[in-house]
Amino acid sequence: MADIQIPAIQIPAILEGKELVRSVRTPARMEYVYTAGMATTRFLTGISQGKILGERAPGGKVYVPSRGADPQLGVPTSEPVDLPHVGTLVSFCVVNVAFYGQGMEIPYTSGLILLDGSDLPLMHLIQECSVDDVRIGMRVEAVWVEDSELAPNLESIRYFRPNGEPDVVVTQPGEGVTW
């Protein structure tokens, strides 16, 4: 690649010897008010009542949490489904790094949990299980906060833990590949 001549900057005589301004720090803060939307409102209301509500789309797929649209059909999901609080761990990773917003002791396991009866895994913490014991196919159950602490956010579920049932074979959606 050809290289280019970058013109030297001419500093006016009156500024000679002065320290150049190399950067400007301009903090910016804005406040936004977010609308949850009806589907998220239904889901979080369910959470505040100790329920995990999925929504069934026309065609039968159950999404949790629902965000109001079946992404394959582009239509609203309609029917609420009260899902059991147990499911299968379809994948996971062990997090070993502190990052913005996180407040957990590392290492910890973050997992993709397919609740029984739903068609899309949701991501949550896996605890009460050493990071070396976590495995795909493990059966897990939700552990909630105390009833008095239930609130309309996913922190009402503290984490998922193994529930002792035997592991199951996990099938990859869309490809029909069995692991």
Partner: protein, 353 residues
């Protein structure tokens, strides 16, 4: 251009001050369902999809990603997104249709202007070193432009009020308009300016909105719509942002875009101009040779509803709808972006026969 492309369907949600119940996806889905129904197409029939929106408006990075689910992109679709008003998403779709691989396109855009402090948000577009740290709001910038017009002898406050009055009165015929009322120029001039020389009535409302358009080319357009609104010309141009580098009383880029889009070929029956502030309509009229035109912004224009990132595509839709309905033969639609009419897109549309 060799391939004729037309607007064959347009849909918008009723423009409101704030949509506080539905989130962006829920707000957008009925509009997309409506426009596809009007076009007689399913998502599977559509060759290309393009949207316009901006992260800063929604306060979320990658905000367009979640709204794409509302389109139902499965099996995977050919899709793109611009961080611009939907009018530019339409431009990208129009270019795609020129290639001949696909003959239909869905274009959509949405903007919730209510959640974030819009004037603070828009100030983040400005020069980050010298201007943005002062947090100038859009009304003040438009007021600088208005002041220049008055000082140049090009317009008076009464001229601004005339635009403001006419726009809201026209909006009374638009069920989707947010602000629609009949107040006289004298009445409006009685208002105390909020940022001299601009009065509240010279300024756009804050609006949440969404709209969508379906484009089709050649014979496909004729199959789908009895009277397609053919895009005879489309062009866009940009000027430097810095207000001191331009004559704010004229819109050079609009004039150029209008020339390239073929404005001069014949007079237009209708013009929809994206002038969020009343004085800007006068600037745009001059740039497009519409100074005395009697049918500007029959929808009420942005002074009646101004969903950011949507108002530009809405102008195209409003002109196209009138052509499709047979109430106009030839029209021009304009869209703008950036402070004080920095960037401008002009579309000339026509019906056949």
């Amino acid at each position: 251009m060799v391939i004729d492309v037309a607007v064959i369907a347009f849909a918008q949600m009723p423009n409101v001050r704030a949509e506080t119940v539905l989130n962006e996806v829920e707000m957008l889905m009925p509009v997309i369902t409506d426009v596809r129904a009007k076009a007689g197409l399913t998502q599977a029939d559509i060759g290309f999809t393009c949207s316009g929106s901006t992260d800063y408006l929604s306060g979320q990075a990658f905000s367009f990603v979640s709204t794409l689910d509302g389109v139902g992109p499965w099996p995977p679709i050919q899709e793109s997104h611009v961080e611009m008003d939907g009018a530019w998403a339409l431009y990208e779709a129009w270019v795609k249709l020129q290639l001949g691989d696909v003959d239909t396109a869905l274009v959509y855009c949405y903007g919730k202007t209510a959640p974030g402090p819009i004037h603070e948000v828009l100030s983040r577009q400005l020069d980050p070193y010298h201007v943005a740290p002062l947090w100038p709001d859009a009304i003040s910038l438009a007021a600088l432009q208005a002041r220049q017009m008055i000082d140049a002898g090009k317009a008076t406050e009464a001229d601004f009020a005339e635009v403001a009055s006419r726009s809201r009165r026209s909006a009374m015929n638009n069920p989707n308009a947010q602000l629609a009322f009949d107040r006289s120029v004298a009445d409006l001039l009685d208002e105390t300016p909020i940022v001299d020389p601009l009065r509240k009535s010279d300024c756009p409302p804050i609006t949440d909105g969404a709209c969508a358009v379906v484009l089709a080319s050649g014979d496909r357009a004729r199959e789908l719509r009895e009277r397609p609104a053919w895009i005879r010309g489309i062009d866009h141009r940009i000027e430097p942002m810095a207000l001191g580098l331009r004559d704010l009383t004229v819109s050079v880029s609009t004039r150029t875009a209008g020339e390239k889009a073929g404005m001069a070929a014949a007079p237009v029956d209708v013009a929809e101009l994206h002038a969020p502030f009343a004085p800007q309509e006068l600037i745009l009229r001059e740039a497009l040779g519409l100074d005395d035109h009697r049918n500007v912004n029959p929808s009420g224009g942005p002074l009646a509803a101004n969903p950011v990132m949507v108002a530009g595509l809405t102008r195209i839709g409003e002109v196209a709808q009138r052509i499709m309905d047979g109430t106009a033969s030839r029209g021009v639609a304009h869209a703008t972006s950036g402070p004080c009419l920095q960037q401008n897109l002009v579309t000339v549309l026509e019906g056949e026969g």
